[in-house]
């Protein structure tokens, strides 16, 4: 009904507006419902990660391999839902209106940083697998009884490599060969051909820092306020926060280049109901990080923590061991070796699937980013009419 027909009538104009408002509300209601669902799902998923249901007997310890795998699953679910809300059946022009015209590109920049972090973490898993294999040598050496001096020495050698591998992993550059490498027990003094220190920093540029990337990702993460909070800015913020949290947790767990100065919390406002569990997890992990940071460690991954603890205890044992050894100590060591074997088994089962999952997350982020860019591109070419690419063509 054209407005002109009712121009004369005041009541007519009001009824037009009301129709319009009702029409908008219809969509708006659906949208609010979707947003609520999204928030609830996010909240539920993180709540399960924080405190799994009591009937779950084999609950995964925080930051264990299986917990991380669950975390990545949570991410994939959130991403799928997020895209459904923002892209499916929606007029693309809404994505390029304020405030999304600023928020979406920011999210996409975070996505790129997340990709680099995925790669760094994948690299880190490689070094963890190396540690796993060293631990398996220790198990081979010590699992047969009685333990001979030879086997004890063998275990000690592997343990020394293990512990130095754990301490080296965080350092930048391939030139830090400070730790005593067990390739040679220094017999030939400054032997020129020491076998190389296994460094991770090969793949990444010298001054790249995981901690700085996380910081940059979190820098402009600001919760929408007022009117914006009821619109699409809200799910964008939620997804951004989820992305930052997941990357942060991965970096905290898995050794990758330069994690010094990793932030231990992000300013997610406590009044956001969906964020309670996430904030709870942040606090827990952040506390652990602060505790261990001073000692210097190889990541908060639960299995690595075990390896470190058991490794340190067993290296003392093997150092002072002489056949047949004290019964108590031998029994204690046996129990530790069994625990070590169990940890290695879990690593053997879980690390490669974890890497595959990180890869999946990587590809998913690439895809989602491409989808958003497509939508944004369509919008910009519709409005501007000139393809940006022409800049290359002189003039």
């Amino acid at each position: 009904m054209p407005a002109t027909e009712y121009q004369g009538s005041f009541l007519g104009r009001i009824s037009i507006r009301r129709n319009q408002v009702i029409a908008m509300d219809g969509n708006h209601e659906q949208e609010l419902e979707d947003l609520e669902h999204f928030q609830k799902h996010v909240s539920d998923r993180f709540s399960e990660l924080l405190s799994p249901p009591p009937e779950d007997v084999h609950a995964d310890a925080l930051l264990s391999i299986s917990w991380l795998r669950k975390l990545l699953d949570v991410f994939l679910c959130c991403d799928a839902e997020f895209k459904a809300i923002l892209l499916m059946g929606r007029d693309p022009s809404q994505i390029s209106k304020p405030p999304l015209d600023r928020l979406i590109p920011e999210l996409l920049e975070r996505a790129v940083k997340a990709l680099d972090l995925c790669n760094a973490v994948t690299n880190g898993v490689e070094s963890i697998r190396h540690c796993q294999r060293l631990a398996e040598i220790v198990v081979s050496a010590l699992e047969n009884k009685p333990i001979g001096d030879g086997q004890a020495k063998r275990a000690k050698k592997a343990l020394t490599s293990l512990l130095s591998a754990m301490n080296l992993d965080d350092k930048e550059g391939t030139n830090t060969k400070t730790a005593e490498r067990s390739w040679s027990f220094g017999r030939r003094g400054a032997s020129k051909e020491r076998a190389p220190v296994r460094s991770l920093s090969y793949q990444v540029a010298k001054n790249w820092s995981a901690a700085k990337q996380i910081q940059a990702m979190a820098n402009n993460l600001v919760a929408p306020r007022g009117n914006e909070a009821s619109g699409l800015a809200s799910p964008v913020y939620i997804m951004s926060a989820v992305l930052v949290f997941v990357m942060w947790a991965l970096v905290a767990a898995i050794p990758c280049q330069e994690r010094n100065g990793l932030a231990t919390h992000f300013p997610v406002p406590k009044q956001l109901s969906w964020a309670h569990s996430m904030i709870g997890l942040q606090d827990k992990i952040g506390d652990e990080w602060k505790k261990k940071e001073k000692k210097g460690m190889a990541g908060l991954l639960e299995e690595m923590q075990k390896l470190e603890k058991l490794g340190q205890s067993l290296i003392e044992f093997t150092d002072s061991y002489q056949y047949p050894g004290e019964t108590e100590k031998v029994e204690e060591a046996a129990a530790q070796v069994a625990e070590l074997a169990e940890t290695c088994r879990r690593m053997e089962e879980g690390l490669v699937p974890l890497q595959m999952q990180i890869r999946e997350v990587f590809h998913r982020i690439v895809r989602s980013r491409a989808e958003f860019l497509d939508v944004l591109d369509q919008e910009s070419s519709a409005t501007e009419g000139v393809v940006k690419q022409t800049k290359a063509f002189l003039m």
């Binding site: 790129v112 940083k113 990709l115 680099d116 790669n119 994948t122 690299n123 490689e126 190396h130 294999r133 060293l134 398996e136 040598i137 081979s140 009685p146 001979g148 001096d149 030879g150 086997q151 020495k153 063998r154 050698k157 592997a158 490599s161 390739w183 040679s184 027990f185 017999r187 030939r188 051909e193 020491r194 076998a195 190389p196 296994r198 090969y202 793949q203 990444v204 540029a205 010298k206 790249w208 056949y323 595959m356 890869r359 690439v366 980013r369 491409a370 000139v386 393809v387 940006k388 690419q389 022409t390 290359a392 063509f393 002189l394 003039m395």
Partner: protein
């Protein structure tokens, strides 16, 4: 003496087992067609069984004393090397084989002792003693292994493959305008005739391979295979990473790649294609052979070690490729993207062969996916190129009316497409399912495969778009004559470029004829436009009247010569290429 004598019945049993095994081995050894490796295994087994027999025999006679004695002798050998600063394998072949024999002896003693069904403190003590000596030896062997691998590493020059690639860099200069007169020869790629095969080199000097193998055998037999692998992987992985660093592919994050400006990106993409070829065809093929030689007898350990050695380098190459496919697909990237696509397509077979195991399936999958994405990116850039040609806008008329820089850029760029003909056709055909249909060939007659292929159709539509654009630009000139001169010059340029390169095969004679005709048309129009106004000055207003006044006539002549001068000057100022234009 006490332990030995009471165990005599067991010795009998043991002897029977060993004799039976020995019999089987001898029977197998008599088989005619045994592979060299298998025969060697049987020979070793034969020797080992003989030793066990001797061992048992002697034990039967003298019990543990003999064992202790042999152990002492071997131990002496091994301990004597502990304090020696020299490396065993540097000290001559005799030393090395003696050392290995000593290790073998210890292992035999351990086997024998374990085989003794009697338990007792003395046996236990001897066993643990032997294991201790064994561990010492294993530790030493690990060092020797690392030493050998590092000492006898062979460097091969990556440069031997580089010469062919240098030429192409000239062509990928942004300033296409400056090389327009270069003959097509310099821009042609090398025939890739020697790229089909792999090139295997010795990464470690061939003469030390047997040494490494003998160390491997001893370490694996003694249950120290894990240590061997860790040492081997460590050294080989580092060697690969150092080599990769020589290739100077920067350690780039995805963020770096996405923010790169074109000149650096072009150079990195070029380095990537080159690195991919060298790493897969030469280095990894050679590394695989080395692993096969050293670890071939040990089952799945072989592919495992190979994967561990090569993983981080492969992921680096993969990562760069993926980062490139994420970026905006600007038109100037199209040629480099096609290069990357073709390089990877050529290498897929090598990749599949090198990483054929289940555990390394992700390598095959990821590179296959990367190929698809590179294809998509290349086509996107190609289409962006087409689009950019039509949407390039000018505000002012191009001074002088000569060949427009857009024309030069586009035509010089297009000259290079025919080299990628088969790839472009393949990719464009796949895309045909999409919304944008391939433009139909305009010229019905004389269709040959080359003029009707998808690439040819697209190229012709690019030139159409270029022509339309040039027409639009010509309208910016106020004078009709200049409009025609401009179009004349530019169409002439296009036709020359097509005729003078492989493009003529794809555009066809028909197209060339028609465009020559267009050029002629504009030439005619130009003449008419320029001279008609001048000629009109000579026209008699009153054709019927017999005379014109003298003054009018003089005026007209003056006007004519002035106009003629001006017209002539303009004509000279607006010059085109080639003699044809001036005639």
């Amino acid at each position: 003496m006490d332990d030995g004598e009471s165990a005599i019945p067991t010795y009998e049993g043991d002897l029977h087992v060993v004799a039976a095994a020995h019999h089987i081995v001898k029977a197998l050894g008599a088989t005619k067609n045994l592979s060299h490796d298998l025969r060697k295994i049987l020979v070793d087994l034969d020797a080992h069984l003989s030793r066990i027999t001797l061992n048992i025999d002697s034990k039967r006679g003298r019990g543990l004393f003999d064992v202790e004695d042999r152990l002492k002798q071997a131990e002496r050998k091994i301990v004597s090397w502990e304090s020696d600063p020299m490396m065993i394998w540097d000290s001559g072949p005799g030393e090395a084989s003696e050392y290995l024999e000593a290790v073998d002896e210890i292992q035999t003693v351990i086997d024998g002792l374990r085989g003794l069904s009697v338990n007792g403190n003395r046996k236990q003590k001897e066993l643990l003693h032997a294991e201790s000596v064994l561990q010492m030896a294993m530790s030493r062997l690990e060092e020797e292994l690392v030493h050998i691998l590092i000492q006898h590493r062979q460097q091969f020059e990556p440069k031997y493959m580089s010469s062919r690639s240098v030429r192409r860099d000239v062509v990928y200069d942004e300033s296409f305008v400056s090389i327009e007169d270069e003959s097509p020869e310099t821009s042609r790629r090398n025939c890739n005739s020697d790229e089909s095969g792999e090139c295997i080199v010795d990464l470690v000097h061939a003469h030390v391979i047997p040494h490494i193998k003998s160390i491997a055998k001893v370490m694996f037999t003694s249950g120290y295979g894990q240590e061997f692998c860790e040492a081997f992987i460590g050294v080989r992985k580092e060697a690969l990473e150092q080599y990769f660093a020589i290739l100077e592919m920067g350690k780039l994050s995805i963020e770096d790649v996405l923010n790169m400006e074109w000149a650096s990106m072009s150079s990195e993409m070029h380095k990537w294609t080159w690195s991919m070829k060298i790493i897969f065809r030469v280095y990894l093929a050679s590394e695989k052979r080395l692993c096969d030689q050293v670890l071939g007898d040990f089952g799945s350990v072989n592919p495992f070690c190979f994967l561990e050695i090569s993983k981080s380098t492969i992921l680096c190459l993969l990562n760069f490729g993926e980062a490139i496919t994420m970026g905006p697909h600007q038109p100037e990237k199209v040629l480099r993207l096609l290069d990357m696509y073709e390089t990877l397509a050529d290498l897929l077979l090598s990749i599949d062969t090198l990483f054929s195991e289940e555990a390394s399936s992700f390598v095959r999958i990821d590179f296959h996916e990367l190929l698809d994405r590179l294809g998509g990116s290349a086509i996107a850039a190609f289409k962006a190129f087409c689009l950019a040609v039509s949407s390039n806008k000018s505000a002012l008329p191009f001074p002088g009316g000569s060949v427009h820089p857009l024309n030069k850029y586009v035509m010089n760029f297009m000259r290079l497409f025919p080299e990628y003909c088969s790839t472009l056709n393949l990719l464009l055909k796949d895309q045909n399912a999409d919304a944008n249909p391939v433009p139909e060939p305009e010229y019905g007659q004389n269709i040959s495969p080359s003029t009707s292929c998808p690439m040819a159709c697209h190229l012709r539509s690019i030139t159409s778009a270029l022509e339309s654009n040039l027409h639009k630009k010509s309208k910016l000139y106020k004078e009709e004559a200049l409009q025609h001169v401009f179009l004349m010059n530019n169409i002439h340029y296009i036709v020359q470029k097509v005729k003078g390169s492989e493009l003529r095969l794809f555009f066809g004679d028909e197209w060339i004829r028609k465009h020559n005709a267009k050029f002629q048309q504009h030439a005619t129009n130009y003449e008419r436009a320029t001279w008609s106004s001048i000629l009109s000055l000579l026209k008699d207003d009153n054709p019927g009247s017999s005379s014109m006044s003298k003054s009018t006539f003089r005026e007209r002549c003056k006007g004519f010569s002035v106009a003629f001068e001006e017209g002539h000057q303009d004509h000279c100022a607006v010059h085109g290429n080639g003699k044809e234009l001036r005639s």
